[in-house]
């Protein structure tokens, strides 16, 4: 399967783990990675991709531009999807996250509700989530399954 995939992820350990699974199972896939919300969004809007793998919480700026103390988009993945909808750049998207809960206080939401919300908002291109855990292998199968369903 020769597909152009964009992977937006800031956690290097998770990024490497996902890339390993992808390369093993889809050796012909062409994967571009971006490690911040902004660089990822720009890459996505400026170029043609077939599939988007997306983290939910992302730093606003690239690593090299600022230190980690500046800007974090707690629902950055969702904002990227909003921009995809607004700019009519709707490609199949899988969210890969390490967390089952997001936000704090009133903006708190768990993964199940977030999934429902994303399905409702971005039904045209959101294809579900994969719950990553460095202590489990289950996510690998889930990712492959999600990928195969596209």
């Amino acid at each position: 399967m020769h597909k152009k995939i964009l992977f937006i992820e800031d956690n290097l350990i998770k990024m490497e783990a996902v890339l390993q699974v992808m390369q093993l199972n889809y050796p012909h896939a062409e994967i571009t990675t971006k490690d911040s919300f902004r660089s990822g969004l720009r890459e996505l809007i400026a170029n043609q991709y077939d599939i988007l793998l997306l983290d939910m919480s992302l730093p606003t700026w690239d690593r090299e531009e600022v230190n980690k103390q500046e800007g974090f988009e707690r629902f950055g993945g969702e904002t990227i999807m909003r921009e995809m909808k607004r700019k009519n750049k709707q490609i199949p998207t899988i969210v890969i996250t390490m967390f089952s809960e997001f936000g704090i206080g009133k903006s708190f939401i768990d993964l199940i509700d977030l999934d429902k919300h994303l399905k409702n908002e971005f039904n045209e291109f959101y294809r579900g989530f994969v719950k990553y855990s460095s202590s489990e292998k289950k996510w690998e199968v889930e990712l492959i399954n999600a990928f195969n369903r596209l």
């Binding site: 956690n11 350990i13 998770k14 919300f37 902004r38 969004l41 720009r42 809007i45 919480s57 606003t60 700026w61 531009e65 600022v66 230190n67 980690k68 103390q69 500046e70 800007g71 974090f72 707690r74 904002t79 909003r82 921009e83 909808k85 607004r86 390490m98 967390f99 936000g103 704090i104 206080g105 009133k106 903006s107 855990s133 460095s134 202590s135 489990e136 292998k137 289950k138 199968v141």
Partner: protein
Amino acid sequence: MTKKRQIQLPIDKRLYQSSQNKFAIISELKRLSLSDFRKEVTKAYKHPITKAFILGKYTPKSYPELRESRASFYSNNLEGEIAWVLESILLSKNEIGKFLQYEKDLEKQLLLGNNHDASKILDKIENEICYSYWGLELRYCLVEKMSGTEGNWKFANSINSSTTNSYTLLFNQIFSKKSEQGVSCTDYHRSLNNEIRSASHHDFEYLNYKLSYYLISDYKQYPFLIYADSLSSIIDRYIALINLLVELLSSEDESYTKIAHMVINEMSAIDDNRIKRLQEFCGIKEIKIESIQYIKILEQYSMGDYEKCILEIPNILRETPNIVELWEIYVKSLIESEKQFIPTNISEYFDELLKKLYVTYIIENESVQKAEELLKIIIAAPNLSYAKQLLTLISSTLGIYSNKNVISNNLCFHSVFPNPLVLMQSRKTKCESDFNNLTTTICVKLIAGYSVNENQLESVISQFKFNLYQLRKAFKQKNHDKCIQVGTNFNLDDIKNNIFLEEIIFILFHTYYSTNQFDEAIRLYITSYFKNKNLVKRINTSALIETIIEKNYPFSGSIDSAIFFHLNNLDNYHCFVSIEMWLESVNVRKPSETTIPINEYDLKKYLFILEHGCTIDVLEKFYYDYDSKEEVVGERKKILSILIQNSPLNAEIFINELTAITQKEKIQSILKEVNSGRIRLTASMLDSTKEINFQNSFQRYRLLTKFSENFDLESYDYKTLLKNFLESFVDSKNLTSNPSFLSFKSLVNELIDGFLYNKKNGLDGELSTRIRHGEIENQIRSVFDKNHLISKKDDSGNYTNLAYWDDLLSSNLDEKSKNQIQQILKEFSKKIDSIIQFLVSENIQVKSENYPNKKNGFFNYYFTDSYFKLLYEESRRTHETFEEFVEYIFSILKAITESNLQNVAEYLTNTLRKTIDEELDNLRKSITSISCNLIELNGNIIDVKVEFQNEILDVANWFIVADSTIETAMDVRTIIECSFESSNIQHPNTIIQPVIIADENLLLHNYKHFIFILINLIENIRHHSKLPNDKLEVIVTVSYDQDILRFSVKNNFNKDMINTSELISTFERIKKKWKDDVDQEYVNKERGSGYEKIKKILVYDIKSKKNAFDFNIDGNTLEVIFCIEISFNYQINA
């Protein structure tokens, strides 16, 4: 809805014969329908106990006796619960009749401000009929008016110490607080919500229903709402039943209106205006003219004879002040006649009330404030008819509404005389012909969609009003085409009466929205907003915005839509989208690239969106246009420069922002260099305290503190009261505490919540995004992973074999031992994962009084009462001002956080490290017990021990505060840089780069004042040096020695154009005058070289008692020198 139950024997026989609990037998009747209940209860009366049970303690003779009735079981059957209460009311007709008489008088005296007389009437009600919560609530209203807040607290104290009933204690506390003059409605709502939010949905609804009806728009738990009051006095039961009937009749559910109809029929013998109005609503009774005088006013108003209304209404209200419709007509007539408010001279209090209504109705800047003041009057006596009606009148100004129109229906339900508006609310209402033929009635019928003779009506009322009624009718019928046709025919600029203008705008906006004309809706909104922002206050824009977002922004981008999104508090992302669409429509990418409009109105909008819309937070969302935070800040600086040039009146605000940005940049860069910590603590975490409500709460706390010093007050913790109330009357002894302390506690808890959970930079968010978010798990696990000591779970949640060891183990061990080793590693993996999991989900968590769930959280802000008391003792003695108080609490929270962070770091480097060490030792032992030859595996275990120690030290470094005092003071170099930058932005073509000679360790508080001094000096240099900027050389030198701050500004000047001897004499004069007092008049004038202003800043703002001015003129250079003694005002950074 009703559940019939088979009863073997007639109830009277069962009561006599059965050994069953008689109360239970009678309570069982509540399962029946209303009519069955009445039939059965008649039989049950043959046993004398029935009446006693149904009445309970219906006429308590003191406050402690309230709710001493025995509680019947809760049936959840609406008809049965109503029947129970109705029965007790029908059994007490005499008491009710007497109460209604007194109630009218009491209402009148209250409105006239005759508090003493009102109090006497209340005494009579309590002595001759009974005590009630209705009476207790009014008692507070009166005590507060007559004896002030201190009297209120004393009264509260007396009730608190005389009863242990949880319901009474809770309501007593709340009644007392809401009556306090210093407690605004907003304070009351915030405090109430804070106290009762933990109640179940059921109870939360009941408490709101009783205490702040308008905060919930749709009540549903009708059986419970009536049941909960069935234990109270007969007065409370009667009021509860009337309120419920209003709910039921307003509902469109036929089954509810049917029940209400039956009950009203049963109550027809009670002489109460409210019952008459309900009967008219249902069509049980025809509407007739009850008061000629009243009707005459309605007619005069309908036909536009406002002068007569103004003249005659005071005469009627003098006798019957509670005809609220006439209040409305009076103020509207004044507005229609373009008159200022004219007092009626009925009483000072009454005129104050009418004036508030007048200001509310003129829809100007103070309207909302006055409506809130009226709401405060309403909540003091919410069950009196005038309060219910007044709420209707101000509801639109405050954006209050109820889904079932209860609030608007109350105007008619509580009216002294029949109001023709009832025809708008009910199709069942019938009128006698005289009433039917009134012009007012015909107007109402026209709007309500009845067929009327429009030509005849047009001939007797003004064309404007006729058109307005047509518009209302079309809107009511959802005839959008007609709405737009009629609405757009009005020339909005010509309408002087804001009440009507606002209504037309409201209708047109909603019509545009309903017909998907988004651009028109937004244009109308923005035009109206810039005409008078109060005109759009009532418009609920949320549905329109939701549709716009859902439909992917189906409007043309414009400055109006950008402003619209900003005004409606959309988040930064949506504001960005709307601004980006506007910029695209004018073919630019950045706000600073737009062309400045020439037209005054367009310029106003342009400057508005630049100032308020294009903030750094919004600009950060311009994902495609700025590559770094610095670029975003740069864009804001450009915008500020445009604003400074085009909005000179607000230039100071923009300069302030500019300096703040510069300072922040400086701080950011300092932070990047010096801090490795991930947790930031800044005073802005308590920004919510800037809200006036907090300041009001603080004032209340201070008053209570002073008061408590003189009186031994008793009060109760709301949360404990609520708990007891919900748990049904637990012994409440030992709960007493000082109300000042409780007020302090509640205030501090709110501040803690803000500190921990505010969206922008709350500590929990910081922990979540900077630490909990995956980083720590990955970081710790990676050490084990690298050394192949930790495995992963498969689909079923079982740990898998570590394949890495398979070959190595096979060469040394048999199959059984190999499996054993793999099993040991799996167990080890499980342990390590559970340690990490616990650390993230339980330890690195915050706990506080309002969010106590994370019991093992390291960030503990759950203060014990003893600790609160310590803080309270300290605070009440020392903190006179709100600022001091907030600063104090922040310092406490900061100290606690620093201590918490230290504990976490210590936990990680000691406890966790040891735990992991032990686990590694155990692993090693377990492996050795199988085989001693697994050298590589053992080696890896040792490696992990060392690596983990290093890794955990790195992780521990995350738990350090990243920022401390920098925000409160600024180093002198930054001050100088900020000053020049501010000046340079105002003069972008003549940028001055100074040479700065200053001690970088010197930090100055009140830095803003120094910036203003420097800006003055820089302006002097620009204007008087007569040199182009590229030839200008400026040197600023600052030093500090022995309490004297010395700063000098030296610049060259054009010697050919400046007469040096004149310059010397000018500065000699300044130096001589420097010793005189500040010439305030001179300072206030925009002229001269600014030295008087500098002196004023030094004397008044910096509060320097000793300061000196000097100068040196040498060749072509001028140096001005200031020496300031400011020992209290600086700080040397160690």
